[in-house]
Symmetry: C2
Subunit: 404 residues, 2 copies
Amino acid sequence: MKKSPLAPDSFPELPIIKGVQFATGQTGIKYIDREDIMLAKLSPETTISGVFTSSTMRSASVLDCQSKIGLGTEQGAAILVNAGNANAFTGSDGQASVNRICEALSLKLGLPSSAIFTSSTGVIGEILPDHKITNCIDDLKNTLHDGSIENAAKAIMTTDTFSKGSSATLDIDGKRVSISGIAKGSGMIAPDMATMLVYIFTDAKIGQINLQKLLIKLNNRTFNCITVDSDTSTSDSLICAATGASGVDVSKSSRFSKSLEKVMLDLAQQVVRDGEGATKFITVNVAGAASNKDAHKVAMAIANSPLVKTAIAGEDPNWGRVVMAVGKSGAVANRDHLSIWFGSHLVAERGQVAKNYKEASTAKYMKQSALSIHVDLGIGSSFSTVWTCDLTNDYVKINADYRS
Amino acid sequence: MKKSPLAPDSFPELPIIKGVQFATGQTGIKYIDREDIMLAKLSPETTISGVFTSSTMRSASVLDCQSKIGLGTEQGAAILVNAGNANAFTGSDGQASVNRICEALSLKLGLPSSAIFTSSTGVIGEILPDHKITNCIDDLKNTLHDGSIENAAKAIMTTDTFSKGSSATLDIDGKRVSISGIAKGSGMIAPDMATMLVYIFTDAKIGQINLQKLLIKLNNRTFNCITVDSDTSTSDSLICAATGASGVDVSKSSRFSKSLEKVMLDLAQQVVRDGEGATKFITVNVAGAASNKDAHKVAMAIANSPLVKTAIAGEDPNWGRVVMAVGKSGAVANRDHLSIWFGSHLVAERGQVAKNYKEASTAKYMKQSALSIHVDLGIGSSFSTVWTCDLTNDYVKINADYRS
């Protein structure tokens, strides 16, 4: 698979987080000649929070993680992720696989099974050959070391065309606090309460409940505001681990919250930039809505519309389709108060095409790879921003061929 | 545009409806060398009912029709439809265009303006050059005659690759009652309260209010159960005219209701068969739901999922994506009660892949052009059926190029 044209130039330098060690390996479950499993081991007193997909068909790993979040990780914790098999819709066999993996890791790492979190990503409905994972545990344990987060980001990829990482550092009371995160995701992206697979590590000190609250709040502004194809995965998981190794308590730090949000938003946008077949990165801003819910509804109706997304793929400033999407969204809207901009080009206002609208200059704007659509409903003061990509022949090609 | 591979062999023979006369013409608004306008003139005492899009951005014609339905058509009525320009999001100019067209027709046909219904379909946001329509009215009036419904069906097409007609006849108390309908639609199809453009004519005798109630009921089982691309048009209109010329009162006839439903369902399915780029006609049945609303939600989540639709385009029995769509639908569902069939092939049950599932034979089934997906939620007794098509490269191609 060719690298997305919207990919960043390279994987960023991520700060090493004290208290976290990584290892990666090859299980041979689906992929040949590449690493497909990663282990993160977390020091004692690390706190772990997570948000997960709200799909009623969530995978065995997701159900297992949800049952463990908040049980306590005083002795330390571990996160194990495999790519190529989602272990979703695998019935009671799926849970049995998760149990066997957690038991084996528990034994080798000397941690309670309740402090071991797993994620699986890949094809839905195939039984997970968990022995191929447990066979790797010795090797993973023996190669654990600081600073191999880039390999971890690579090992969790499926249809991704580039590995995704982001970081932030900030100084609080003269001490350095660092955040490093990785993500995977490319298709089946319309997170709801959570997202694809995302792992964020920090040496900040913060209690589990405070971290959980913060994660839920920031998730609603970041991963819940992206969509590639309106399809919500059965495996979406976002896990954040705070080792506390910096000694800096960030429970009440708005600067930490902002830094964490920056990392989350960067990772979320990287997932959009790797949207299957994507050639355009699109920011959809909706303002002037009657409520936040309405603003988000309109933004998502635009971002998920196949007709808007194909028009953008064709570099056509077809703003009539944006009108259509506003109209079908279910939000309160009034034709005569609606305004639409493509970038800085006002295309429609007061119920019709803008007086000075110039198709030629707007069409030229559409050739850029990063585009913004701004909609003002002209009714209230609520707003929302979401990020998406275009819908191209390559999306169809990738997804008509995925399993074969 | 090549004719859809799912098209019927030919346009059907439709019975002539006494009390209806048709004419067609060329306005030159968008298309060259083809008819793009149709006029239907209805005899005195015809009753007219209609259902329309619930989009908040509905077109000037739709708003005008909605204001007129039920006002009375004792002196007769007329329906005028143009293709190539939707007259949607054209502000007060749009309504002025509709007014001028209705006034001109009113004068020429000797009918009150309130008995004249118009529809426009095509590009959104461009001012309708209504003089090109009013210039045609003399010609249209002079060529009105019975039996040219096939030309009318052709004149209202936009991206359609074939014209759509359907009919039914039934004998009640020794007298013949006939129904003839036409439709257009191919993309921007996810009707909500109504549909694309559909005109149904019958010589049955039925009061306006009874016809309206019947239309709403049948619409919920036919046009509201299809989707091509989840995008709802600003122009959806279904108008039914009953001339009463047969002298048969059908107000309480369940046989008439069934015949009308058959015509509506046939037209709705023809729209799906002409779905932009479609190569597969897909019936999605959902049973065992906790409520009718849940059943419809699940069926539409499957039918609208880009990942399900692209898998089917690739003839891949990727039932994991059906699981995903059930999971994201928002309906009550339980992994361990869910069963999924592709045609007669049971693929998943009790939370995992079916014991005797054979990928090879199911993959062979997927090569058919008409496919069914059956989902049993195993929870309640409510069910729903919807119809859709696959998502192909050609859908993207058609919609990335539409205006240019």
